[in-house]
Point group: C2
Chain length 338, copies 2
């Protein structure tokens, strides 16, 4: 019947026979409390089952102990889910250690993005993690301007000013293509990702660099633009086969596009890897289950998430910390498609 209100710091203080301040000090681990007072406070807390109200605390400290993870909804579809699940796992792991809340924001379109901006301005988060940014990311620009601590997964370009963590797209792609060349493939095509994203660019650059390092000249007519989707991979494969029927290998900038490419190859009666070798990028669950199992480049996604969280927390902690740029190594996983 009587709607019992939860105990406040005052209740605790009264119960323990001390002042509010002392309770607050115990709560925040201050040294300036006598052992006796501390013991009494702790006992009162336990007896009353007191939990500090973090909203009230946030009001005065101007901190929310929460960060936002912003993900474009379009990227959360299709086969990229494992990527996000792993990323979230990494982020979440580090955050819970420090008692920071993770607020997930899926942005569907521009209007929601604006709404988000206001939600951020509304002081509900101490920092932002931003995933898969395009080269011209308005949100990133705004965050930069607002001076809110921000860490990107990936970067807008090589001269990124915000802190970021990315996997070694250039190195991974280089390794994948070098592997194909080493196995004696001579016409290695590539299906690129969206070229308005740095990932797309870097992986294409890797394709070029591998040729260069092998002392070959990359045949630019073997480059076909994709968009990271399965259907995009299929389409790209089709036009590559039309244009260059003699190709004997394909490096796709994502597993999902590789899956599309595999389908198209099969449809046209090319055998993998006998006629055409295929390598993807990401090592998603899918890769193990294609026919044949897909060689690919594994990214340390969970570790990317962990690093992002760590960097963000440090930027939140110390006002003007150095911007950090981190590139984590990838690993080539050779299966049966190459």
């Amino acid at each position: 019947m009587s709607e019992r209100r939860p105990p406040t710091i005052k209740t605790v203080a009264a119960r323990a026979g001390v002042g509010r301040t002392t309770v607050s000090r115990v709560l925040n681990g201050s040294e300036l409390v006598s052992a006796e007072a501390r013991a009494r406070v702790l006992e009162a807390i336990k007896e009353l089952n007191y939990v500090p109200n973090s909203v009230a605390r946030g009001l005065v400290t101007n901190r929310t102990e929460a960060v936002a993870l912003v993900i474009p909804e379009s990227e959360s579809r299709l086969g990229s889910e494992p990527f996000f699940a792993a990323l979230i796992r990494g982020v979440s792991g580090v955050l819970t250690e420090t008692g920071t809340q993770l607020q997930l924001v899926l942005v569907r379109d521009e209007s929601e993005r604006d709404q988000l901006t206001s939600s951020i301005a509304t002081r509900r988060v101490d920092g932002v993690l931003l995933v898969s940014v395009r080269v011209q990311e308005r949100l990133a620009a705004m965050l930069e301007e607002m001076g809110l601590p921000t860490v990107l997964a990936g970067r807008r370009g090589e001269d990124e000013r915000l802190s970021y963590v990315t996997s070694d797209n250039l190195g991974g792609a280089t390794e994948a293509v070098a592997h194909l060349l080493r196995r004696g493939r001579v016409r290695v095509a590539t299906i690129t990702g969206s070229l308005d994203m740095d990932v797309g660019h870097s992986r294409l650059a890797g394709w070029r660099r591998a040729h260069e390092q092998a002392g070959r000249t990359a045949d630019e007519s073997l480059v076909e633009a994709g968009d990271f989707s399965e259907e995009g991979g299929r389409r790209a494969m089709r036009s590559l086969l039309e244009r260059a029927p003699a190709l004997d290998a394909v490096f796709a900038a994502s597993d999902l596009m590789a899956v599309g490419a595999l389908a198209e190859l099969r449809r046209q009666g090319r055998r993998v890897p006998d006629d055409v070798a295929v390598v993807g990028f990401e090592d998603s669950v899918l890769a193990r289950h294609t026919n044949p199992p897909l060689s690919t480049v594994r990214q340390p996604v969970e570790e990317v998430g962990r690093a992002m969280a760590r960097i963000l927390l440090s930027e939140i902690g110390e006002a003007d910390a150095e911007r950090q740029r981190l590139t984590l190594p990838t690993e080539l996983v050779v299966r049966e498609s190459s």
Copy 2:
């Protein structure tokens, strides 16, 4: 140099030449404001670029406009990612419409679960969405006791007291098995999910019911327990084949287990679907890419998420709303494995 503090409601009031209360009223859409005052306030807001501080508001309203989505980390691994991505998409869609924040909580183990409880007690969320509950879910019990609005994805049992949304596991499984029987299969085995979860139970019950409805007696020796994992599926398939080499169909309670089963069948030289038909449950991305493509039961996961969010919001809105139970229909997707 001068660290400019953001404008508060007072600044706006002064600028507009009105009192705090009037600004507050405009902000909250009260009717009791003259058109003139409203206009002046709105202009001041725009000029100052004012955004209300939601933490301060939360302190007095005792609302945070945020809900937690709690996911056991173990369930976020393996092939179940698409499930979570879709669920999150659904939840997030509804929440952003109402300006509610989504706080994601991955619980790794019991200790984190306790921490979570405190985080919830700390009044940082207005309600909780809880995913894939086991029969004895301490957290659910606690939430129930605390009286915090809660909606489950799935249920603890048939007599669930909290609100929940689930897909029609019983119906879907029944349909899948009926389909196998209709196609002339006579020894239809099943690999169950974890039986400490209602999903596991219900899908097994569907297997039984399909037999019953077809006027056959279900052969209980064709039931093998799995745990929703690929490896579990493989193991279960192996012991089924040992025990009942003559089986000609398998209904696996998850796609991932079906994938494991397919692998084991292939290893033992059984052809799918010629020798043994296989049907999974979930229709994850995987299902389209197995060899052969997997028949499965599609769950309306995104819709489950949407429904959960809607129900939770309504429970938060009106103090003692009716508990709601919602079962959404599934759909059999026949591919080439059956």
